[in-house]
Amino acid sequence: MTTIAKDRELPAPAITPENKPYFDGTARGVFMLKYCDACERFHHYPRAICPHCFSDRTRWVEARGTGTIYTFSVLRLGTPTPFALAYVQLDEGPRVMTNLVDCDLDALAIGMRVRMVCKPATDGTMIVMFTPAAR
């Protein structure tokens, strides 16, 4: 079986002063990740105050934009087009919610290497998604 993922309409995210640098990053095709200088750990989604140690010494860093599929599910009924909801584990560590796109949805597997691509929401904001990496 082959189910080629089609682009679908994406609702625009609410941009706040706290998350704006992340979406400024996606506009450039970059995954901006929060790093805490106090506990020396990454976290996602991004917060002003680190959820691991509650320090405010957090800063933005550019992630590599590569990772591995941790888990996923292809929604096949009750949707205009099938799509894959997933958690991808970034090479920096955090598991991030995303979609797997530009691929055969029936060929996806846990453990598969992926790289980020961005897709536009209805207002043009770019949304981070992932696609299987070329071997």
Partner: protein, 388 residues
């Protein structure tokens, strides 16, 4: 302070409707409140504590307390999705133990079936939620986010679709005896795994029903409970928690029951092997499997083997569960199965379940709720109850 023995579940009522186009939402709340008060043998003037979640229309508990004509000295509108009502029972017992109220009413009602709701639609709780910008666009609905837990559990532990299907099979064996159940037909493992895939690896028959309806429960302090005619059911342990995504450290193979369960068992002074009957939140088959493992009824990763071969069927299995048919077959009012989990546990402890599914000498029961998203953030609440 422990709540063990401080409050009794003196009244319960499950609305028989499954589609309520001819009733208002507030009316459904009133009808379940009335039903539970009549079951208890109390009047609405006896109620001095009210508990509800966001399924109640109006701002928090304000409209409903006024609409029902209650005069309260304690109120609470905690919302952790479908597990809210187990939390409310815990909070009501705390309030009674602290002398803040004497008779507490908890209600749930809703009409998702009449309004065409579906578990495949993306869900959000408002733009101000800090997570919304990182989830909503990805189409996180209900089915697909639970399915992600199933997928990973299968990957790590070798759990199969056939093993998950046994959970639905057991629920259907119970539902055949419930005249109010939406799905009364007994199904087989093959029926489940051959039903259409909704969200890989969950099939249509791995999913709960969408139903209108509701339910209510009434708690009272021991002196009042002893003056009533119903069989005494005592709350002896409770736990609750919230499992989040841990800033990216999320592990989707376990639920918040790993924390709420042990707290309830410790307070009750009992262990999983003492429990005669369990009501386990069953939004999907995988929800049941994870919670059974996390509550300690079997080891982590062995849930598939534990639920297989009818082990959850009353009369034949080792751990009878959801003898009303549960959310998978009977009823999942307002997409929130917590209330009906409490109600069937009370029926079992009273000896008032259907004779075909009644657990013999059922003196100790557990009810477990999970609200929100299994592979996302969710509330978990555990109650342990004893027949005196």
């Amino acid at each position: 302070m422990s709540i063990n023995g401080k409050a009794y579940l003196v009244g319960v009522y499950e609305h028989p409707t499954r589609e309520a186009k001819d009733k208002s939402l507030a009316q459904l709340h009133a009808e379940v409140a009335k039903g539970a008060l009549e079951d208890a043998g109390l009047s609405h003037r006896d109620v001095d504590g009210f508990f509800c979640a966001t399924d109640s229309p109006g701002l928090g508990p304000m409209s409903m307390i006024d609409y029902l004509g209650l005069r309260v000295q304690h109120l609470d509108s905690t919302d952790i999705g479908g597990a809210s009502y187990l939390s409310h029972v815990n909070h009501a017992a705390q309030a009674i133990a602290a002398g803040k109220c004497n008779v507490a009413l908890v209600t749930l009602a809703g009409k998702p079936r009449s309004s065409g709701w579906s578990g495949t639609q993306a869900r959000t709780f408002g733009d101000e939620a800090p997570d919304a910008a990182f989830e909503y666009a990805y189409g996180m609905g209900t089915a697909n986010v639970y399915a992600m837990s199933a997928k990973r559990h299968m990957h790590e532990y070798g759990t199969t679709s056939e093993q998950l299907a046994w959970i639905k099979v057991a629920a259907s064996h119970h539902a055949q005896h419930n005249p109010n159940a939406m799905l009364r037909k007994v199904v087989t493992v093959e029926d489940v795994v051959n039903s259409p895939l909704v969200a890989d690896p969950l099939h249509k028959l791995d999913c709960c029903v969408v139903s209108d309806g509701g339910g209510a429960v009434i708690l009272a302090r021991p002196e009042i409970a002893r003056s009533l005619k119903r069989p005494p059911v005592k709350l002896i342990g409770a736990g609750e928690t919230l499992k989040g995504m841990d800033g990216g450290d999320i592990d989707v193979t376990y639920s918040g029951a790993v924390w709420s369960g042990p707290r309830a068992f410790e307070e009750a002074g009992v262990k999983p092997s003492d429990i005669k009957y369990v009501s386990i939140y069953d939004s999907f088959t995988i929800t049941v499997l994870l919670q059974l493992e996390d509550l300690g009824f079997c080891k982590k990763g062995e849930g598939g083997r534990f639920v297989a071969d009818g082990n959850l069927i009353s009369g034949t299995g080792r751990l009878p569960f959801n003898t009303d048919g549960g959310g998978l077959c009977n009823n999942h009012p307002r997409n929130r199965g917590g209330m009906t989990k409490i109600i069937e546990a009370v029926r079992q402890l009273r000896g008032e379940a259907h004779p075909a599914v009644q657990v013999p000498s059922c003196n100790l029961a557990l009810a477990q709720g999970l609200g929100g998203f299994l592979a996302g953030r969710h509330g978990s609440a555990t109650l342990i109850m004893e027949r005196e």
